[in-house]
Structures are given as C-alpha cells and as structure tokens.
Subunit: 310 residues, 2 copies
C-alpha cells in the first residue's frame, strides 16, 4: 500500500460536478506538491462525457474500493457515507470540500472540512485556487464552468447563488466559451434517454437519504421532452418497485426535470408515497404529479421530504 498517495473522489452515480471536482481538486493538490489521483465510483453520464471531451480531459480511473491502495482520501461534492465508496470507513478522510447538507458523516479525528451553501462544488474549488495563488488553466476553467452549468441547470436552480453566477462568467472567459450556447448544448447532451433501459434511467443520478429510521431514494433525470419519459411509465414503475423491494425503501421518487421549463414531473412508489403528496402539497394522481418550479433535489425535494417523512 502506498501510504503517501491520496485518492480524491466524488459520490456514487457521478454527475458532472462530482467528476470535474475530483479532477480539479487533484490538479490543485498536485500543484501544491501532493501525490494525488482523482478516481470515480461509477460510470460517467453523457453530459459529463460531453464536457470532458470538449475540454480534452480524461475521465478519472474507476474504483470500487480504496482501502486496498491508499490509507488516506479526500472527498469532494459529498459527505454522506452511503453516497461514498463502500469501504469509506476503512480509510482516513483528511479533507472534504462540499456544498451539500451534512449527514451520516463522522471521523475519529479532526480534518479539513469545508462546506459552503453555494450551487456547485467547483465554485468553492475556484476560490481555493485563488487563495493558494494557483493559476486556473483554460482546460480546468472549462471543467469548473461545466460543473456550475450542470448543477445550476444553467442558473435556473434555486441552489444557484450570485457567487456561482459570477464564478461561471469569469471562468467562461478563461475557457473561451459562450455560456448560454455551450451550456444548453452540454445540458442537452445529458438528456438522451431513448437508448437507456428503465433501470439505467432510475440510476443515472440517484441518491439514497436516511430520513428518521427510513430510507428514501430520489433519482433525477433531465429532459427536453417529459412526455417521452412518461410514455415508459410501466417499465419505470417496475424497475422502481424492484429497487424498493431490494433496498427496503420507504419511498422512491423519480424527478423528471424539464430543463427548458424549469419544472419537474415526479413518479413515486413505495409505502410512503402518500407522504410525497403531503410534502409538496399536491395530489398524486396515478403515481405522478407536476411540481411547478421545482428543479433542485437538494434545496427543494429533500428538505420537503425530510419534513414529511423524517
């Protein structure tokens, strides 16, 4: 085991922020003299592939476990252990940079832990380059701005702060892109669902959340054609109910997010599905409901569900 090497990674079911943040933080730490490698805990999605390809970046190496190769790790874009690598409790976490709620996280010793309530992890990482006087290259500026566009749905999400917008504008200049044109092209690349199985659709961007003594899973897909996804409802329902059975979920919510309108249509199954209606004060009709103006799992869906279920 190489004891001085550090692996950096984001959450399972990686999205663009998680993949780019791992690459970016590994770059920063390497430039500050560390022996650091970015890795990933799952397949990259088509939106992320588009961004990596556009900026000529290699995807991080795929790993299933980390304690067989390193003693220390740094986490980006997540902190909850159930979203992290399976053997997270067998390594020492020396740093966390994140922008999510804190839950199901603990360490034996103090560490560097930096969470800020901004829309994207790379917005924090950009500040860390500045604080350490490390120059941001065109390539890494491109990866940073791609992550901000992804997490903020091109600034439509209520998670998006003024700091994210200003960071994106400044990074877009370094990356030499037109924010709106590149942003919409990148987001659309992530909405190609027609060749995906129902199992894939519900797991592309899915996270589990303990609420009280219950476990809730919330998946999210972006699209420009909600009807196309809803046409596959029976197939999705079957896949979601299998997952509920396997994981003992209280409820499974799939949010189908219209990136042009800025709304989400949800599909929900499980014993607690009635409480999902309560959570958003809507009627669930045939397992589905439209949530006007809801695009953020973190800021809109999870707090409401936690209140109703947790």
């Amino acid at each position: 085991m190489s004891n001085d090497k550090i692996l950096v990674f984001g959450h399972k079911n990686p999205d663009t922020d998680t993949i780019c943040s791992a690459l970016i933080y590994a770059d920063l730490k390497s430039k500050l003299g560390g022996n650091v490698e970015a890795v990933r805990l799952g397949e990259i999605n088509e939106e992320t592939a588009f961004a990596l390809n556009y900026f000529n970046a290699e995807k991080p190496r795929l790993v299933n476990t980390v304690s067989d190769e390193v003693a220390e790790v740094a986490l980006v874009d997540h902190n909850e252990f159930q979203q992290s690598v399976d053997d997270i409790e067998n390594v020492k976490i020396i740093e966390v940079v994140d922008h999510h709620r804190i839950a199901n996280f603990q360490t034996k010793e103090p560490l560097h832990f930096r969470v800020e309530p901004v829309g994207c992890t790379t917005t924090i990482l950009r500040k860390m380059y500045q604080e350490n006087n490390v120059e941001i290259t065109k390539q890494f500026a491109g990866l940073m701005v791609s992550a901000i566009i992804s997490d903020s749905l091109l600034f439509k999400s209520p998670t998006c702060t003024e700091e994210d917008v200003q960071a994106a504008k400044s990074l877009a200049e370094i990356a030499e892109i037109n924010l709106d044109e590149y942003g919409l092209e990148m987001l659309k690349a992530g909405t190609k669902l027609e060749n995906r199985s129902a199992e894939e659709i519900i797991s592309i961007d899915s996270k589990e959340f303990p609420m009280g003594d219950k476990l809730v899973e919330v998946a999210q897909v972006n699209t420009v054609d909600v009807a196309e996804v809803l046409a596959r409802k029976d197939e999705l329902a079957a896949a979601m109910n299998r997952t509920i059975e396997e994981k003992g979920l209280e409820v499974f919510v799939l949010a189908i997010t219209d990136i042009l309108e800025g709304d989400s249509t949800i599909l929900t199954y499980g014993a607690g599905a009635a409480k999902v209606g309560e959570a958003f004060d809507v009627a669930i009709t045939e397992d589905t409901a439209l949530l006007k103006g809801v695009v953020s799992r973190k800021k809109q869906i999870i707090p409401a569900l936690t209140k109703a279920i947790g």
Copy 2:
C-alpha cells in the same frame, strides 16, 4: 421571536476556547453587519474568568435553550449535538467553525461549515478576521491568545500546530502580553480544585462521546499537584459511579493533567474500564494509571478509546 437575530455559542461545560470563540465570532459577525449575540451553555471556569477579567470582557449570557428566542444559530468549537444546546434540533444551524472531529451532526440543508485540524478554534477565527479585512483589537487579541494557550496547554499539547504557535505569537504582541508569563498565570488560575466538590471536579470540563452503540464520558482537569487530586480518589470514584449509573455510561475516564510535566494520570470506572488499559497499553492498578506524555483528550485519549471500545 426575533427572526433575524443569531445566537453564537460553544459547547456545554464551556472552556476558555469555547467562551472566547463565541465572543470573538459574535464580534466579527457584528462588525460585518449581523445581529449577533454570544451566549454560553454553562458556568465559566476559573481559568476563563481570569482571562475575561484580564482583558475586561463580559462573560456571555447563560442560556438553557435557544429555540424560544431565535430561529438560527452559529456553533463554535463543537459540532456534536450531544455537546450542544438541548434544543439544537429545533433551530437552523447556519454556520459552524470548529477544530474537532465530526460526529453526531446533521442538517437538512447546506450551511457554512469550516473545520480545520488546528489546536484552537480562535486560530481559525483569527484567519477569518484577516480574510474579511476586520481589525483585531487588543481586547479580542487577548481573548484569542488566551484560548490558544488554554487548548494547547501553552503549546505542550500534540494538538498544537505551527499555525497555532505563530498565531499566538502575533496575537500576544497585539494584546501586549508576555506569552509565557501570562500563559502560566492563566493556566494556574484554572487549577484551583481544593474548594471544588467531587461532582464539580468531574464536570468542569467533561464531554460525552458515542462509540459504536456505547456512551463514554471523558473529563479532564488541569493541576500542578496530581497527588492532591488523587488524595480524593474515594470521593471522585463515588461521583463517577453515580454518573455512570445515571447516564448508562460504558466507561467514565477522569484525566488529571499535570500542566508542568505534560502527563496525565487517569481514574477510570464502568463496565468497559478494562478496555481503557488496552487502549493505552498500560496496566490499570486500583482504577488508576499514568499516561506519559498524554495531555490531549481530542488527539490522544478519544482516538485510542474509540479504537478499543467503538
């Protein structure tokens, strides 16, 4: 309820770092335009009283609950809920500044959370004044350096980093004190135990730690005369065993720390007391053992106990 006011506080059984950090962070946030008040969750000890008196600072207001007067709070010098105010789950935590391990902490939404593995919370707060271009007055420099001296036992503790030492030196200049003279005088003020009951001695600086499914309590007192404390062993044992009974503790450890030698003598009771010997690889004789070079609960005692018991 005043919805825009924020209360700032440290942990129960407040020590000098917790009290000074609350006062200091309230000062910084007020100067940045916030409506902020520092409060405390328990009586101040004699060391803290010495420091506050020396620098003409008022002790924060004592509170038992916070949700009856505010909606939002900021935590300093702790994050574990069992060390915080009893109704912590009824308020929104918007900020945490701390230097401890992270455990038993969770929020529904993202927040500002800054933990760094330095020896003292005020070392981080000092940086935050600099980052925000706020001048540190002589009085607040005095409170900051007092907290660093206290948490580091005048730089003897392994928790003390080079950053703490440099911060203390710079702050001592602003505070116009001689570090060694003031430091020893302040530490000695905290060692007057002869007028304290056994119940008081075991609760002056005591914290509970969940380890696995068990609860462990570790109290620490500083002294220049360990024998004087050990002479009251029967009385201390009775008080510790009552606490074990009341709280259902697996083990209760009292660390009697010699601030001149930099060692600790422990007293330990409870079903798990045998594991305390294993944790430090020492023989526990008549419920007591000398731990050479051990002065830090956080860095030396808790990690070893967690490994043996958790």
